[in-house]
């Protein structure tokens, strides 16, 4: 039976298990949207800006392990997706972006709302397609989902001219894909695995760096087995938070530019680094010239191009992390590494890293700590980018995969609100906290309307310091306090929330924090809290730009009085 291109697209999406689509309509996707009501099993969430659609699809994907889907019309609709696609690409998030295109006879004529979106997204997609005939559509969708969700995941864009959506052809959904040029290595080379295991068995001061690849591969059990069997301490990259429970005695928390001082010391002192599902990002390694100077490096990753890209690697294993770890755990000896672990415990004691200043003002770290206490960690935390992100990464205790969702690679301010929407839509049973900065929040603030229209119960905490805070911190430390254009005039966020029919509350004092969080959690729908915090609070620890992890700066001890996270929380 013949079907239109639009019907074929919808039915293909259903075949791929799609339940939710984030998008905005426009001329070049009208045939598609006109068809959508025929398929009530596809829930469409109308966003207010296409960037919001892409971030929501990304947040949905990170929370559910399923490809997120977003739709935009041609021209400006498609170009508005670009930041969200680039963001998903940098953080290996599976996404299928569908764009309308002007009708085939108009392509290349600079027609109204025409943009070369396949050309534009070439370097920021895992692959992209421009569909020139409705007969290609079903196979293209099948391939797009396969590419997006396998190997190292990533975004795939499908550009569909308006008249292709209207064209009627026979619909046959293919059983398999034919992609001779697409390959990924699932199982690690057994010889390499054995060699790596030997290095691990011989190491005196081994350290695991656990990245987002563990979460993607759902290898947290295998990681835990490796760490426990050989008693190897674990540090996380930013996006690796949640891959290993931070309340575990072997967890050293986050490493990197704003990582724990003792975690960075562990990296610099280790004699063997086992880097798993991570790509040696410069924010994690700091200056690679001085990175892990005493260590051999075992690198496990599914993407061969990541091996040796940023740092030298002694023992690469290309493969799916879960399979590699399963094989490797059989080759690993039980060890205790008592000297090494007690050394690390001493550093943890001497360099607390999470202590905060005694201050009468409301401190942002305290806000994050109290959200953790109130939720007992049973929440998905979705952050913006900058200071709010780093405090959320540091002062919350992540124990479960997919509990920390953040823009790591691209560092996209404004990611938080739409990504939180996506996460909540994907996991309606979970409490989702959107931790926003006052700067980034205003970059996608329009999605408050999406929240109300679609009744999405996210809890929003604005860490409002009246600055583009991380930039201000750099101006303070590296540009002699010249705060050029980082001070923000802000609207009344509570009034803004009210205008969007979302209840809100402003918190200026310490004693108001816990009741406000409780109020937000008790409320059935979305809720906004504007935390007006100490304006010039800095994120510590910190590695100055260009420095190595050995140069981690800590908060001056004289300023510390309040000690928050204590060892008693450890299992």
């Amino acid at each position: 039976m013949k079907k239109t291109g639009a019907q074929i697209l919808c039915e293909s999406l259903i075949k791929e298990g799609v339940e939710v689509i984030f998008g905005i309509l426009g001329g070049a996707v009208l045939p598609l949207y006109d068809t959508l009501p025929q398929y009530p099993q596809l829930r469409h969430i109308l966003v207010r800006h296409e960037q919001g659609a892409a971030h929501a699809a990304d947040g949905y994907a990170r929370a559910t392990h399923k490809a997120g889907v977003c739709i935009a019309t041609s021209g400006p609709g498609a170009t508005n997706l670009v930041t969200g696609i680039a963001n998903a690409f940098m953080d290996s998030s599976p996404m299928v972006a569908i764009t309308g295109q002007v009708a085939r006879p108009f392509i290349g004529k600079d027609a109204f709302q025409e943009a070369d979106i396949t050309g534009i997204t070439l370097p920021i997609t895992k692959h992209n397609y421009s569909v020139s005939d409705a007969t290609e559509l079903a196979g293209t969708v099948k391939e797009a989902f396969y590419i997006a969700q396998t190997g190292r995941p990533g975004p795939v864009l499908i550009d569909i001219p308006r008249d292709v959506q209207q064209e009627e052809v026979e619909f046959v959904y293919p059983d398999k894909v034919n992609l001779p040029g697409y390959k990924f290595i699932s199982r690690g080379h057994s010889v390499q695995v054995k060699r790596a295991a030997k290095l691990i068995n011989q190491a005196q001061r081994p350290l695991i760096i656990a990245g987002r690849g563990i979460i993607i591969s759902q290898a947290h059990d295998e990681l835990k087995e490796l760490a426990e069997k050989a008693q190897i301490p674990v540090v996380n990259t930013l996006l690796g938070l949640g891959s290993f429970p931070q309340n575990h005695v072997l967890s050293l928390g986050m490493m990197g530019m704003h990582g724990m001082a003792y975690a960075n010391m562990a990296v610099q002192s280790a004699d063997l680094i086992i880097a798993i599902g991570m790509r040696f990002d410069d924010r994690a390694t700091a200056n690679t010239g001085g990175f892990a100077p005493n260590a051999h490096i075992v690198h496990i990753d599914i993407d061969p191009a990541e091996i040796g890209k940023n740092v030298r690697v002694d023992m690469p294993i290309v493969g799916d992390v879960k399979n590699v770890l399963k094989a490797m755990n059989k080759e690993i000896d039980s060890r205790d590494h008592l000297d090494w672990l007690s050394q690390l415990e001493q550093w943890r004691y001497e360099h607390p890293s999470l202590d905060i200043r005694q201050n009468d003002e409301l401190l942002p770290q305290y806000v994050i700590q109290q959200i953790y206490e109130a939720t007992r960690g049973n929440a998905i935390v979705v952050t913006g980018v900058g200071q709010n992100q780093m405090w959320a990464a540091q002062h919350f205790v992540y124990t479960k995969p997919n509990s920390f969702i953040s823009s790591g690679g691209l560092g996209t301010m404004g990611f938080e609100l739409p990504a939180a929407i996506g996460a909540k839509v994907g996991c309606p049973g979970e409490m989702v906290w959107c931790i926003a900065g006052d700067g980034g929040f205003q970059m996608t603030i329009q999605e408050l309307a999406t929240i109300t229209q679609e009744n999405i119960a996210v809890k929003i905490a604005i860490i409002n310091n009246g600055y583009l805070g991380m930039v201000r911190q750099w101006q303070e430390l590296f540009y002699e306090h010249r705060y050029v254009d980082t001070k923000l005039w802000n609207p009344d966020f509570v009034k803004i929330a009210e205008a969007y029919d979302i209840p809100g509350i402003r918190v200026k004092r310490r004693e108001e924090v816990i009741p406000a969080i409780q109020k937000a959690m008790d409320y059935s729908g979305a809720f906004l809290i504007d935390f007006v915090v100490e304006p010039e609070e800095n994120v510590y620890p910190m590695v100055p730009l260009g420095g190595s992890l050995s140069e981690t700066l800590e908060l001056p001890k004289a300023e510390i009085v309040s000690s928050h996270r204590n060892i008693s929380q450890k299992e």
């Binding site: 070439l122 370097p123 040029g181 697409y182």
Partner: protein, 163 residues
């Protein structure tokens, strides 16, 4: 590690935009491309691409891996260290008068090149060979005055049986 010229050969799908994907990758990752030649291969639907890149071996290994990640690239290998046949073709339009034409023809003969076009004040020479040969001929013809040059860039295959 020193910068050396590496020859990469890639078998790619013959689809619209594939050349753009490859070129875009080189630009985006700031890889230094010396030449790129592409044409149909022995298999229908597939083209063979020869890319000459300069860089140390770590850079070139990164180029190879990144190329291999492109969905439309079936296979890519660095054949620099292998026993290969590598050729490029150049067309050289050189000034020629009645008095210099025979001298040019002698040089062309020595290089086993061909004259493919003659006019009253120029000849066009077609030469095939490795880059050194093409360069040497160009050098010799330079004294007559070269009007135009175009080159294909290197194409290469490994010698002997294909695995």
């Amino acid at each position: 590690m020193s910068d050396t010229k590496h020859t990469l050969v890639a078998l790619v799908e013959d689809k619209p935009g594939v050349l753009n994907r490859v070129a875009s990758l080189f630009r985006r990752r700031a890889f230094n491309i010396q030449s790129l030649a592409v044409g149909h291969s022995e298999q229908p639907g597939l083209s063979r691409m020869t890319v000459v890149v300069s860089g140390d071996s770590a850079v070139v290994e990164q180029v190879r891996k990144q190329l291999d990640k492109l969905i439309n690239v079936i296979r890519v290998s660095d054949i620099t260290e292998e026993d290969i046949v590598a050729r490029e073709l150049a067309l050289i339009k050189v000034n020629a008068t009645a008095s210099t034409r025979s001298e040019i023809m002698q040089i062309v003969d020595i290089f086993r090149a061909n004259i493919v076009d003659v006019s009253s004040d120029s000849v066009t020479v077609e030469v095939t060979g490795d880059e050194d040969k093409v360069e040497s001929l160009l050098e010799l013809l330079r004294s007559f005055g070269i009007k135009e040059v175009t080159k294909t860039g290197r194409v290469a295959l490994t010698r002997g049986d294909t695995q």
